[in-house]
C-alpha cells in the first residue's frame, strides 16, 4: 500500500510517496511554472517511475499547497499549514515551532506538547521575505539563487536594509552595489532583513523564542545564510530536515495514510 502527498507551491511542485510503514519510497521536486497541472503530472510520474509502481497501487492521495484543489486525483486537500506540521513531526520529536518559508508566503506554526497545531501565523499579502523576494534579489545581484546561500560568508554584517518591500529593497540593493558594497555584506543584510520579519511573525505566537525547539521547512530552509540569521535573531538552534522543501508533501502523504486508516476502520 502506497500513499502519495503532492504539494503544489507557487515556485515548486513536490511529491512524496510513502509505504504502509511510512518509509519514504520516492520524492520529486519540479518547478511549478505557469501550468501547474503539468507539474502535478510530472512529479506524480517521477515518483511512480522511481518506485516502480503504477497509479493503481496508490491507496490514497492528499494534495496541499496553494494549488491543492488542482489535483484531480486527490482523495482530499489539506492546507500546507497542517501538512508541514505533520511532516516535520515525522522528522524530529519535540518540535515546538516550525517556520516554513515558501515561494510566496511564510508561516510560523506553534505546536502543543502532543505535536498538535496550537496556533499559526502567516505573512500578510506582501511576499517580502519569501522565496520570490530572494529570487528577485539574486537577479539584481546577478548570482544564482542556489549560490546566494553561501555568499554571506565572511560578512561583518555592516549593511542594514531599510525596506522589505521587494520593489524598494531591489532599488536599495542596486544603490548598495553602486556604492561599491561587497556582495557578501549585501547578502548578509538581506538575510538579516528576512530574519527580522520572520521573527516578528514568530513572536506573535511565542514571545520567548530562545527556549524553543525550532525547525524550518520550505525551499528557503536550504539557504543556510537565512537559517543562520533567523537562528541568531531567535536565540535558539534551528533544525532543518534533510529535504526541507518536501516536508509539506511528506506531511500530505502521512495524512493520506491516516485518513485512509480512519476510513477503513
Amino acid at each position: 500500500m502506497y500513499y502519495l502527498g503532492i504539494d503544489i507551491g507557487s515556485l515548486s511542485c513536490d511529491a512524496v510517496l510513502i509505504d504502509h510503514s511510512e518509509r519514504i519510497i520516492a520524492s520529486s521536486v519540479v518547478p511549478t511554472g505557469a501550468r501547474n497541472r503539468e507539474a502535478i503530472e510530472r512529479v506524480t510520474e517521477d515518483v511512480l517511475r522511481s518506485a516502480g509502481i503504477s497509479h493503481e497501487d496508490i491507496t490514497s492521495i492528499v494534495s496541499t499547497g496553494y494549488g491543492r484543489n488542482r489535483v484531480e486525483k486527490r482523495d482530499s486537500a489539506v492546507t500546507e499549514i497542517t501538512c508541514h506540521g505533520r511532516g516535520v513531526m515525522a522528522q524530529k520529536d519535540g518540535i515546538d515551532l516550525l517556520i516554513d518559508i515558501g515561494g510566496q508566503d511564510s508561516k510560523a506554526i506553534l505546536f502543543d506538547e502532543n505535536g498538535a497545531i496550537k496556533d499559526f501565523a502567516m505573512n500578510d499579502k506582501c511576499a517580502a521575505g519569501t522565496g520570490r523576494f530572494l529570487e528577485a534579489m539574486a537577479r539584481v545581484l546577478q548570482v544564482d539563487i542556489n549560490e546566494i546561500s553561501r555568499l554571506d560568508a565572511g560578512a561583518k554584517g555592516s549593511v542594514t536594509l531599510s525596506s522589505m518591500c521587494t520593489v524598494f529593497a531591489e532599488s536599495e540593493v542596486v544603490s548598495l552595489i553602486a556604492e561599491g558594497i561587497e556582495v557578501n555584506e549585501i547578502v548578509r543584510g538581506l538575510n538579516k532583513a528576512i530574519a527580522s520579519r520572520t521573527v516578528s511573525m514568530v513572536k506573535r505566537l511565542a514571545r520567548n523564542t530562545s527556549e524553543l525547539s525550532a525547525a524550518m521547512s520550505g525551499g528557503v530552509a536550504r539557504n543556510s545564510g537565512v537559517v543562520r540569521a533567523i537562528s541568531e535573531a531567535m536565540g535558539c538552534g534551528i533544525f532543518v530536515p534533510p529535504e526541507p522543501d518536501t516536508i509539506g508533501a511528506l506531511g500530505a502523504a502521512l495524512i493520506a495514510k491516516e485518513k485512509s486508516k480512519k476510513m477503513s476502520a
Binding site: 496553494y66 492546507t79 499549514i81 497542517t82 497545531i117 496550537k118 496556533d119 499559526f120 499579502k125
Partner: protein, 406 residues
Amino acid sequence: MQQYFENIINGIEKTIREDPAAASPRKKFALEISKLGRDLYAGRRPVAWCGIVAPFEILNAMDITSCFVEFIGAMLSSTGAVATFLEGAEQSGFGTDGCSYHRSVLGAAEKGIMPKPEVLIGTTCPCTGGIAVIENLAKIFNKETFILHIPQDESSENVRFLAGLIKDMVEFVELRTGIKLNRNRFLEAIENSNRMRNILGEVYEMARKVPSPFNGKELNNFGIVMSLFLGTKRGIEIAETYRREFSRRIESGHCGVPGEKIRLMWIQNRVQFKNSIVQMLEKEYNAAIVIDELNSITWQPIDPDDPYTGIARRSLSIPFNGPVTRRIDHLKKLCELYKVDGAINPNNWGCRQGAGSRGLIEEGLKEIGVPVLNLEVDCIDSRNFAEGQIRTRLEAFMEMLENKRS
C-alpha cells in the same frame, strides 16, 4: 440608486407574493433595508447623515430619514460597483490606506450619488474617520454638522453630559429642518425602541442554542443595521419575524448549519462584497458563525420618563466605546455565552481602531481558550481580496479547530 432599491423591493415582494413560504426573516430584513435605501434617495423627506451611535429613534420620530454613512459604503460594495467611488476618492486626494467604508462614501459624494442631507450628526464613537466623512459631506453640501461627543465611560456625569448634548442635538435638528419633535411621537418611538430591544434580546438568546437555529448569513450585518430602525414599527416587525422563525426552528429541531461541528464568532464587521467565505465554512467544515460582535444588547430599556438619559446610556454602552479592555471583556462574554470554538477577525483594511486592538483581542480570547484568526481583508474593496490566501488561512484555522475538538 433609487431605481436600484426599487428593483430589490419589487423583486423581494414578487417572490413573497408568489411563494409566501419564501418570506424568510432575512428577506424581511433585506426588504426593509431596501425601503430605507429608497427613502434616502426619494427626496420626499429630509435626510440626516449620521455617525453609528446616533439616536435614530429621535430622528425616526421626527420623520427624518436617517442613516449612518458606512451603510452606503457597504451597499456600494455589495453592488460590486464600489471601485469607481474608491477611485474617485483617491483622485480627490484621499489616501488608499484609509478605511474603504469612508473612502467609498466620499467618492460617492464627489460623484453626486449621496443624497443631499438637511442635517449631519457626527458621533465620536466608534471612530474619528466617520466624523471626518461627516465633516467632508457638510462641506460638499454646505450644511452644518452637530457632533455628539461620546464620553469614554459610563460615569453619571458622562451620562448627564451626553443626555444634555442629545437634547441640544434635537434643538439643532428642529432649527435646521423646521420639524418639531412631537412628545407623543417621541414616547411612542421610545416604546417601540424598547420593544425591539427586548425581542432582539430573545433572538440573540435563541442563537446561543447548540446547535444554532440559524446559519451564518441570517444575522450578517444585523445588529448594527437594526439600530437604524430604532423607534419604528418596522424594526419591531423585523425582530418579530426573526423571533417567530427561530422559535419554530428550535421547536422542530432545525439546525442552521446541518451537522454543526464548529461554532465561530465573527469580530467587527463582515465582508460586504460577494464572497464564498461563509459558504465554504458551512459546506466544507460544518462551521457556523453563531455570533457577530455587533449582535448584542448592551443597554437597558429606556425609561420613557427620562428618555434622554436612557438613550445616552445606550450610546455609551457600545463595546467599541472606551478602552479596548472593555471590548475584550464583551467578546469574552460572548464566547462563553455562545460556546464559541474560535473567532475570526477580518481586521478591515484601514481601520485604525481594529488594527490597534487586534493583538490585545487575540491575547484576551486566548486566555479563555478561544483561538483567533486574524485576516487581512478589505471588507469593502474586492480588488484587495486575495481569495486563495484567505481560503488557506481559513481552512488551516478550521483544520486546527477540528483537530482541537477531536
